[in-house]
């Protein structure tokens, strides 16, 4: 009987691995006894007890790994070690496939003609790299947040003085030369140029333009803070100007939440400097002011897209506040849904992953006279006391900081909404659930699929209670996006979700339904 000992100092294997090793060695031919583990005093004593010890084992510490086996075979120890290494799969990874640069400088050296830097580093390091990028004459797409306002102003001024784009901080969406950057959709090329200060707002406008048969020339992002008074709309103005000067752009669309007063004025002043039609969507902003400047105001993101597409054909369109399909069919849907609802069910719970869409929803419903509670309410008295508990009509932006601390954005990982829906389903007074499904580059590969089990479960639990849960949804995307738009739509429809072709229409349908059951 041969004693086979293998020791590895300061080596740690997880328990699954140890189990596997023990099992496999025990199975080996000729092995009569084996102990595998860390060399604690007890285990060493055990070895001695079973005549499986030697001097080497005695000198080990509890932080050392050992195998002690008794085998009838010669060369057993080599076989055992070979087996162990096989099981642990300690093969070295194959060499790296490509060289990656270590610094921005190095990358610029490697990539001749580099013209853009996409930066998504942690906020505290981002500003310095943007500076380097600008010094290297690169346009910048700055996805990072947690960049200070002072840094933002400095960098945007630096960029402006050199004539470079500084899109961000906190800029998630852009389409340059037809290429979606970060979180954006694949959209037809065309002659509509967009400058947007909000991610999903911009995405909505681009996908609807695509749906209407139009296309985009350039979509420039500015980051969420650009139109605040401290930053003064630097990038909005720069982007606007570039589109004015761009021969491929015939119509310009500007998207943002209502800017600071003086910033709005500056932007609207610039409208006068161009003959190109300008559609301005300061989501909920002052219509008169916009129209006075010669620009076209809109009532929704969808409307902005409609107006832009019409203008690119040389026509002027009215406010689009209806539906893409016949009103009669809409009413049919509404009546069917309403019929299934119990009279005790009265409330809407809108669960959004796109902040701008949530905002648009509340504004549109506000016009219909509905007060909506939210974590991003239109007015302070409708702030949810507990953002994790909805009351009455509630519309939540799950992408807001309060929900995403320590977690990724819900457009990437829908877990936040997956967990929230069942909570809403516990409330018997809920009638309608409204949700957005944003696809495109950067988004989760299957937003519909991720929510599906919860949707089915929620609807079933209402059925079991003798009630009905109406679920209305909207897929923000195009058929060219990497996620299959058609499959996404099919999944949701099969589960009984009513899909509308735009966020505004989904809201309008919801409003009709709520009106019906009032």
């Amino acid at each position: 009987m041969k004693l086979c000992i293998e020791t590895r100092k300061n080596t740690y294997y997880d328990s699954v691995a140890l189990m596997l090793i023990t099992k496999e060695i025990k199975k080996m031919q000729g092995v009569k006894e084996v102990i595998v583990g860390m060399a604690t005093d007890l285990n060493k004593e055990l070895c001695a007890n079973l005549n499986l010890s030697n001097d080497e084992i005695k000198t080990l510490t509890p932080n050392d790994f050992f195998i002690a086996a008794a085998s009838e075979e010669d060369n057993a120890i080599e076989k055992i070690i070979k087996k162990v290494d096989e099981l642990l799969n300690s093969k070295k990874d194959e060499g790296e496939a490509e060289i990656k640069a270590r610094t921005l400088q190095g990358a610029v050296k490697q990539l001749k003609g580099a013209n853009m830097a996409v930066i998504s580093l942690p906020g505290k390091y981002a500003a310095e790299e943007v500076r380097k990028a600008i010094n290297n004459n690169l346009h910048v797409m700055l996805f990072s947040d947690n960049v200070t306002v002072e840094e933002e102003i400095e960098l945007k001024k630096l960029g402006r003085d050199k004539g470079l784009l500084v899109m961000g901080p906190d800029c998630g969406t852009a389409i340059i030369n037809g290429i979606p950057l970060c979180f954006a959709n694949v959209v037809n090329k065309g002659d509509i140029g967009i400058v947007g200060a909000s991610g999903t707002g911009t995405q909505e406008v681009t996908v609807i333009i695509d749906k209407l048969g139009g296309g985009v020339s350039q979509v420039i992002g500015t980051g969420g803070r650009d139109l605040k008074s401290e930053v003064g709309g630097i990038m909005m103005l720069e982007g606007f100007k570039a589109l004015i000067d761009d021969p491929s752009t015939k119509v310009i669309v500007l998207i943002s939440k209502p800017p600071a007063k003086e910033v709005a004025e500056k932007i609207l002043e610039m409208v006068k400097t161009t003959e190109k039609p300008v559609v301005v969507n300061f989501i909920g902003g002052d219509r008169n002011q916009i129209e006075k400047s010669g620009a076209y105001a809109c009532i929704s993101l969808e409307d902005a897209a409609h107006k832009a597409v019409s203008l690119s054909k040389g026509e002027v369109s009215e406010d689009f506040d209806g539906f893409s399909i016949e009103e009669a069919l809409i009413d049919e849907i509404v009546n069917k849904e309403a019929a299934k609802l119990q009279s005790s069910q009265k409330y809407l719970r809108a669960l959004y992953t796109g902040g701008t869409l949530a905002d648009e929803t509340m504004k549109l419903l506000g016009k219909e006279g509905y007060n909506i509670y939210s974590n991003i309410p239109l007015s302070p008295e409708f702030r949810l006391k507990n953002i994790h508990k909805s009351i009455e009509h509630t519309c939540i932006d799950l992408g807001d900081d309060d929900f995403t601390l320590g977690k990724p954005h819900p457009m990437i990982d829908p877990i936040g909404r997956v967990e929230r829906l069942p909570k809403e389903a516990e409330d018997d007074e809920v009638a309608v659930i409204l949700m957005d499904f944003v696809i495109g580059y950067g988004s989760n590969m299957d937003p519909a699929g991720e929510m599906l089990p919860q949707i089915i479960e929620a609807k079933k639990s209402f059925e079991d209670k003798g009630k009905y849960l109406s679920v209305i949804g909207y897929i923000c995307g195009t058929e060219k996006d990497p996620q299959s738009y058609i499959k996404q739509a099919q999944k949701l429809k099969d589960a009984g979700v009513i899909l509308m072709p735009s966020n505004a229409q989904a809201v309008r349908l919801t409003a009709k339904l709520l009106n019906k059951i009032k």
Partner: protein, 468 residues
């Protein structure tokens, strides 16, 4: 046309910092995108800001250009054979030179001590190990770095008075460099062995090998090393850890002249056989070639180019052009590599030798791409070899004008390490080296990759900033 409108007219070419998924998405859409393996700036990189000021930056760039030009203009040639005592400046019977930055006996590692013991016995200053150790520790022996005397030595790099040396000269600047002959493999002085076998071989080299080579060189004239090094890089050598081609070319250069010397056939055959059997014979020629190419860079004000990298088995030392002959040292690392059967990390001595003068000059590990065979000894795949060379371009100032790499489209080797770039990128120069046993006299136990400690560069940068 504004730059923004220009962008609209061009093809998007993107540099990505941060989430790699953005880069993947762009590549999926056939957009040229390079992902930066970004890391946060280190504490030392704060010093880099002090060098950003326009005027200063220009001075540094000019100084570096001067340094690189000097390096690229070098014309290293072998003049002939001499002896340490006669040719190396300031050499005495009791002077012993060693590899690496200056170090005292008490701090030396075993291989170096062993080599010194061997050297003392060879010179007849001691008759056995005990006496040698006592003498070495006594203070009577003057120890100095080879580098201070225009010399370099591989591994322990011990040079004593009677040893024969190659005499090289950089014809462009007139400065000299010296190096002993390579003893071969196994139990040799440079790995700390000092048995009679070693001493006998040293004696044979002094009394037989050297005179033959000396006369052969007198007949031959000079041997141009620049063209030889350029050739070997196209033959799978890199001049540090792989020298087969170099040795073969030198053999071809000198063999006819060895035959023409007045020694007996037997002796000539011994000498030719000796060279033939020692693949690393060329190492002791490539090293001084690099040394004399780099020495003219020693004191260029405002230059951040590294002109010396070296180790003595305890400390790693570098010297930077703009800070003159000041050494910046830190403890050497242990080499990461493959071990010969029967050996492992427990047997490894920390990094040792002047041989990384080759990397300093832009060959050796920097030319790894052209020597894929080396990965068999140092671990890794041929792709790794290429990646190593490619990453060196980020910390060097120039592509060599003579030393070209065929499988990188004849791109010149990365030449001229800039301290600023090392700090900025956190990329350390890569060195291909042998691993010495930590017990004197055992010899080589493996080969692998090693890096200088970052501290050397951080200290050098700090000193540079303080000086200007």
């Amino acid at each position: 046309m504004s730059l923004i409108n220009k962008l609209f007219d061009s093809e998007l070419k993107v540099v990505n910092l941060g989430l790699e998924s953005f880069c993947k998405d762009l590549k999926e859409q056939h957009v040229e995108c390079v992902h930066v393996n970004w890391r946060p700036p280190s504490a030392a990189s704060k010093f880099l800001y002090k060098l950003e000021e326009e005027n200063l930056k220009e001075k540094i760039e000019n100084a570096n250009r001067e340094a690189i030009n000097r390096l690229l203009e070098a014309q290293p040639v072998i003049l002939g054979v001499g002896t340490a005592g006669a040719d190396i400046p300031g050499m005495t019977k009791k002077t012993i030179l060693h590899a690496g930055p200056p170090i005292t006996w008490d701090r030396m590692s075993e291989p170096l001590r062993g080599a010194i013991i061997g050297g003392l016995i060879y010179e007849g200053l001691a008759s056995n190990e005990e006496e040698a150790r006592a003498l070495a520790a006594s203070g009577e022996i003057i120890f100095d770095a080879c580098h201070h005397r225009s010399a370099v030595g591989p591994m322990a790099g011990v040079v004593t008075y009677s040893m024969p040396v190659w005499k090289l000269q950089n014809k462009a600047f007139g400065n000299y460099a010296y190096c002993t002959f390579n003893e071969g493999l196994g139990k040799v002085l440079r790995f700390g062995a000092f048995s009679s076998e070693v001493i006998n071989r040293l004696n044979w080299m002094e009394k037989t090998l050297a005179p033959v080579l000396k006369e052969a060189m007198e007949l031959k004239g000079e041997i141009d090393l620049k063209s030889i090094i350029a050739q070997i890089l196209q033959m799978g050598d890199e001049g540090h850890n792989r020298n087969k081609a170099g040795t073969s070319l030198v053999f071809r250069e000198i063999a006819p002249y060895i035959v023409k010397t007045n020694f007996s056939d037997e002796v000539k055959a011994e000498v030719l056989t000796f060279i033939d059997k020692n693949d690393h014979f060329f190492l002791n020629i490539s090293m001084p070639a690099c040394k004399c190419s780099l020495d003219p860079l020693m004191d260029i004000k405002y230059s951040t180019i590294v002109y010396t990298m070296s180790r003595n088995g305890t400390d790693f030392g570098i010297r930077v052009s703009g800070t003159g002959n000041e050494w910046f040292t830190a403890p050497c690392e242990i080499v990461q590599g493959l071990y010969f059967p029967g050996y492992d990390e427990k047997d490894a001595n920390p990094d040792i030798g002047d041989s990384c003068i080759t990397e300093t000059a832009g060959i050796g590990g920097f030319a790894m791409a052209t020597a894929p065979a080396i990965v068999q000894f140092v671990g890794g795949t041929p792709k790794d070899a290429i990646n190593y060379t490619n990453s060196m371009y980020e910390i060097t100032c120039a592509e060599n004008n003579s030393y070209k790499l065929p499988n990188l489209n004849f791109k010149g080797t990365p030449t001229g390490i800039d301290v600023r770039k090392v700090i900025e990128t956190s990329i350390l120069p890569v060195i291909n080296t042998g691993i010495a046993c930590n017990r004197a006299g055992v010899g080589q136990v493996g080969a692998g990759i090693v890096h200088p400690p970052m501290k050397c560069f951080e200290d050098a940068l700090k000193a540079f900033v303080n000086k200007i």
